[in-house]
Symmetry: C2
Subunit: 352 residues, 2 copies
């Protein structure tokens, strides 16, 4: 399905500008009072040009719920920081080489500094959420903190499941194993928490008190959209144009990442090809040969595994759109509300 | 100065039992609802027998301020978790081998899992602090969160300063450089935050509202006591009995850690010995030779550097005791208040 590119890009751009301005402010303040070199490193990932999807969803949900940008500015900025902290540590955990068009902090500064910068980025995010009490009041600020705690808990559990698979060489996994892991690792912090936090920040105080039950349908919506997003991300890793995509193409194969495409290939191919693939996947990254990676990439394409992923991501996007159309009472009818719907196709049709 | 061993050990034991019971409860709950293998790993460090100094200070400060144990139980448990999260990451950053008598999580599970377990331990601590609203109310719970944010910010900055020295091979440092780093890295999370959080939790609501100004003297007290503690810790690393101490003796020399003893040695020894020491310190850990480490250890002893550290830590403890004697109005006269004073000598006279 096509999406309204003008609307989606306008809202993404506005959100990115809003968040970047806030982050510049707080980083400049901390740089003056703290250890400057650390704050320069904290700024590295957030100021590499990302999509800014998470803060855009949060700000749009706030405005769609009847709120104002300033009510969700700090929370959206904090979400962007949590995301970047997660990426810095994720790159360490996966031994990744590239992120947003240039080398990862792991490669440029090594494990010790990258671990500490990730921790420091989380602390900065927490600082913004505590400053939030002055803007949205004690009660809402605490509700936001609860969402963040849940989001972070799901993320580390999802990460733990994936690391467990790696440590134990598990490849005999089906889509439901994958979906459970990605629900925790991706969906909560990419879509579910941004949506819920936006609504918490934006609901006008005068109208009626927000009931936590009202936020439940956003879990299903965020799950479906988050899975669509993640599978598309993994497809782009195999199909994307490196210059546009920013990450290392086929990086997931070098890292042995369990994607729906890889799992599909392993369960549908011949036993000799499966054995060859598993031998490659279980080889440490540094000892893998580029020709074998190319072979696997092409074998997956021939087996229809990449098409399978593409189709599955679109199915999830379609189910998300259906769930979205049934949401009622939570949102007003405005551009930001339309962005939240259009974004469901954007996440599976985007070029990067 | 001797200290009241019976009192100090009783309060430490009680605090450890209180916190361990709380942690068992919450870990068991999360193990049922989440990914079990992760929660087993989160439990690893906290259930290795530590001193439990931080929760003991927090609980004692709460009771000394007129509060009850149950008001600080969650905060004290969260502090113990933050401490353990910090240790898991610190061991990754320093490449440490042993922690509390057995191998570090880095050695047993590798970098990726250790990084994630540290993150997960932080999230669990945050969960406890959010549960705290039901026990001590919104206002106090938020004050505690602010203290935790400050504590974590200081810790990552202190860590960043130390990692910066390592990355740049800096050894030309004086005691004031060391004190600034240790104030941030050790004092805030070992003494200052536990004291301040204990008082916040414990001050009876009926008496009078706690003014944040009242907490300021605890920064000086915690700074002096924290430095005394840290220097003593570093002395024990050079002098301790491995079986009692639990960490690798001379591990700091293997890691090239900047301690007041090492800095004293480098600035007071002959230029040829300084050159030999710097050559050793700048050698990657795996290439260091045990005989050279022994040479450095003995040269430091002969140069009076270890005695210098011992004396400096006792001077800080004495200054802490003086500051402690001038605190007024914050604490009642009870066993927990006495523990807070006795603890000032305990931190420099303890065997481990």
């Amino acid at each position: 399905m096509p999406y309204d590119e003008a609307l989606v890009h306008r809202i993404l751009d506005e959100a990115r500008q809003c968040v970047m301005a806030e982050l510049e402010l707080v980083l400049e303040r901390n740089r003056r009072t703290g250890f400057g070199a650390l704050h320069d490193l904290i700024a590295d990932y957030p100021f590499r040009e990302g999509k800014g999807l998470r803060p855009a969803i949060c700000l749009a949900a706030c405005l769609a719920a009847g709120g104002r940008t300033d009510q969700a500015r700090l929370a959206a900025s904090a979400l962007e920081l949590f995301h970047n902290a997660f990426l810095v540590h994720d790159d360490v955990e996966d031994g990744s080489e590239f992120r947003r068009g240039t080398v990862t902090m792991l490669r440029s500064h090594g494990v010790p500094i990258a671990v500490n910068v990730g921790d420091a980025t989380n602390v900065l995010a927490m600082q913004l959420l505590l400053d939030n009490t002055a803007t949205i009041g004690l009660r809402k600020a605490l509700l936001v903190l609860r969402e963040v705690e849940r989001m972070a808990r799901e993320s580390v559990e999802g990460q733990a499941i994936e690391l467990h698979w790696i440590a134990n060489g598990c490849f005999q996994l089906d889509d439901s194993d994958y979906l459970r892991m990605a629900y925790k690792k991706t969906c909560w912090y990419t879509v579910i928490a941004p949506l819920r936090i936006g609504v918490i920040c934006g609901r006008p105080a005068g109208v009626r008190t927000l009931l936590t039950e009202e936020l439940v349908p956003l879990i299903e919506l965020g799950y479906l959209a988050g899975i669509a997003f993640q599978i598309c991300d993994d497809v782009l890793n195999l199909e994307g144009d490196e210059a546009v995509y920013g990450k290392e193409v086929n990086g997931d194969l070098w890292e042995g990442k369990r994607t729906v495409m890889l799992l599909h290939f392993l369960r549908t191919t011949t036993s000799s090809k499966r054995a060859r693939a598993l031998r490659l996947l279980r080889t440490p990254r540094a000892s893998k040969r580029a020709e074998e990676i190319s072979w696997l990439r092409n074998a997956m394409e021939k087996a229809g595994s990449i098409a399978y992923g593409r189709t599955l991501s679109r199915e999830f996007a379609a189910r998300a759109a259906e769930t979205d159309s049934r949401l009622s009472g939570l949102f007003e009818d405005n551009d930001e509300r339309r962005f939240l719907s259009e974004m469901l196709n954007y996440v599976v049709e985007r070029p990067k």
